[in-house]
Structures are given as C-alpha cells and as structure tokens.
C-alpha cells in the first residue's frame, strides 16, 4: 500500500530518451548509461518523497480553523452549514470538545440512497426512477443519527506518510486531529496531504 501511494506521487515518467538528451547537453563523457541513471533517479525520487512524508507532521498541514457541529444539530442545518462553508465533511463534537463522529457527503447519500453504496449517482438514479426524491427520510434526524462513529483520528505529531496510508487503506478523505486529551485541534484532509506533498 505504501509503495502504491508513493508511486502515485511520481510526477514524471522519465524515459531513456529524455535522459539521453539531457546527457547530450552536459559537456564531457558521463560514465553512466541512461538506464542506470533512470534507476538512480527513480530511487532518489522515492527517497525524497519518503523523507518529506516522514519528516512532515500532520500538525504542519492540517486545517486549524474547523467548522464543527454538535450531536443534536438537525441535519438540515448541518447540510446548510456544509453548503455555506463549502466543505464536504464536518466533525461532530461532544460538549467537551472531543470528537464524537464525522459527517461526510457520503453519510447524507447513504441516508438518502435507501441503503446501498451511497454514491451520488445512486441518489440521482433513485430520483429519476420517480421516487419521492428521498429527502423525506432526512427530516427530523440529528447529526448523531447519520454520523460515522467512532471516527478515525490522528495525533498532531503523526507523520504525513502515516496519515496518507490511513486515508488510503480506510478509504476516507479526512482525519480529525486530536490532542492527548482527545480535543480536536484541526482536521487533515486528503487535499491537505496532496498539497503539502507536491508543493514542497
């Protein structure tokens, strides 16, 4: 899994011809074949990605100002808030600031999609089939009814590599970051991880 994730980060599929051309531009005889250079390059790139993902901590890339909701918030308000803040997922907090769960777009879709896989297209398909467009089952329900709980969380000192692997293996898009007391201090999204891997 680790290998797969890191391969996905490789930006350039460098070819022997590219290396050949680059070697031509350097005056003097280079005592290496294009094939060997490519091997060195790919391996060095992998090391660089590992070094960055190992040395960078979640605390450095997480979003710190997080919109959150409470357990008892009706989900129509949750939806309004998520729409207004343009977020695709929102943490549900207990009164003491610990994380009770997390609500993503998918949780809404599962609720609306009458079971099933909870994809957006499934909701569309059910609507087009002439169903009651599925908003009915949503009314009067609360955040705690549809949230995914318990949530998968990470610590601020978790490395980016671990966080990326958790997201990839669990198939989730965001991880609440909690301190030792369990209080939420931020949220690390897939976008945060990708941005930090590529921009540095």
């Amino acid at each position: 899994m680790t290998e797969k994730y890191i391969e996905a980060c490789l930006p350039v599929d460098i070819s022997d011809d590219d290396i050949y051309e680059a070697m031509r531009e350097i005056p003097g005889y280079l005592d290496i074949t294009p094939g060997d250079f490519k091997e060195v390059y790919l391996s060095a790139y992998r090391h660089a990605v590992l070094r960055l993902t190992r040395s960078v901590r979640v605390a450095e890339v997480m979003t710190k100002t997080v919109v959150s909701v409470t357990r008892k918030m009706p989900i129509n308000l949750v939806a309004e808030l998520m729409a207004e803040k343009k977020v695709s997922g929102i943490p549900v907090l207990e009164n003491d600031g610990t994380v009770a769960g997390i609500i993503s777009e998918r949780d809404f879709m599962v609720t609306m999609g009458v079971g099933g896989a909870g994809t957006f297209m499934e909701v569309i398909a059910t609507c087009l089939r002439g169903g009651s467009c599925l908003t009915a089952p949503l009314s009067e329900r609360l955040a705690e009814d549809i949230m995914t709980s318990p949530p998968v969380t990470v610590k601020p000192e978790t490395t980016l590599l671990e966080a990326a692997n958790i997201m990839a293996t669990r198939g989730i898009n965001r991880l609440p970051v909690v301190d030792d007391m369990g209080h939420m201090v931020g949220i690390a999204s897939r976008a945060d991880v990708v941005r930090s891997s590529l921009v540095r």
Partner: protein, 178 residues
C-alpha cells in the same frame, strides 16, 4: 530464459561527445603521456629504470577522456595504482612458480581491494598484471615498482590532469579528491 533475455541488454549507449571534447581528450592525453614518456627517456632511463608502463595508457583514457567519472578521480587514480602495484608484486613473489595463478590472483585481489577501499580504477588491474607478466626488468624492481615507475608516473599524469583539465572554461577536475 530470463538468463538469455538479460544478454539482450536493456538500455542504449550514452551519446557521443562533442568535437571539442574529442579534441581536448586528445590534447590532454598527448601532453600527459608525452610528459611521462619524455621524462622516462631523458632522465630516468639513464639510471636504468623505465617510467612508462602500459596501464598509464588506460589511465589516460579516464583522466583526460572521461574526467567526470568516479573512476577517474585522484583518489581512484592514485589509490588504485598504488594498491594494485603492491598486490601485483606480492602475488608474483608468492606465486611466481605458477605464473597463471600469480597473474590471476594479482588482478582479482587488486579489484577486490580497490572496491573495498573505494579506489576502483580499471588501469589498476593492468598495473597488478604487469607486475607479474612484465618480465625480468619489472620483477627485478621488487616493491620499488610501487614507487617507480607506478607512483612517479601517476604523479606526473595527475599533475598534468590538474593543470590541463582546468584550463578550458567548461571543464573542471577533479570532481572530488577524497
């Protein structure tokens, strides 16, 4: 079948160097070998020893013709020749009764030692071999072979490489000393 497939090779040969590079390699090796051969002829031969051995031709390829190569750096040039010379002489002294064994042990051990000491320099293999197959003139030198011709010749070639390879604007030598 994988065994045979490996013999097909997997990549292409590096590009040809520019005409300038060819010219510089020619000039550098001309000056380097000329210096060693001239001194050998005019100065050292009077005292009965030669300064030129075949492996210097191979060193010239590297230190004037492929100067960026790790194999061509001073550590490799000096270390490779000196260590190989010692090993070659020792191999002859120990196994001269069985010439083929003395030759092969000398070269093989020289390569291993150069690897271990990070001084791999292909001409070193020739330097070790010459100590065994170089005839009476070489054999009679004993371990002096390490200093003259090997050490002295290498010093002259290195000096020429340091001066010559740093004159052209886009050329520099060495990449590293140690």
């Amino acid at each position: 079948m994988e065994f045979l497939a490996k013999m097909k090779g997997s990549t292409k040969s590096p590009p040809r160097v520019s005409g300038t590079e060819v010219l510089l390699a020619w000039l550098g090796s001309f000056v380097g070998i000329a210096a060693v051969a001239f001194i050998s002829e005019k100065v050292v031969q009077a005292s009965g020893v030669v300064l030129v051995i075949g492996s210097f031709g191979a060193s010239a390829v590297l230190i004037y013709g492929a100067i960026k190569s790790p194999l061509a750096q001073p550590r490799n040039l000096v270390g490779g020749h000196l260590l190989s010379a010692v090993i070659g002489v020792a191999a002859f002294k120990l196994f001269h009764g069985i010439p083929w064994l003395a030759a092969s042990i000398g070269v093989a051990t020289a390569i291993a030692v150069m690897h271990v000491t990070k001084t791999l320099h292909p001409p070193g293999g020739a330097t070790a071999l010459i100590a065994v197959v170089g005839g009476d003139a070489i054999h009679s030198l004993g371990f002096t072979y390490v200093l003259v011709p090997v050490g002295a010749g290498v010093a002259i070639m290195l000096l020429v490489a340091l001066i010559f390879n740093n004159i052209p604007k886009h050329r520099r030598y060495p990449e590293f000393w140690w």
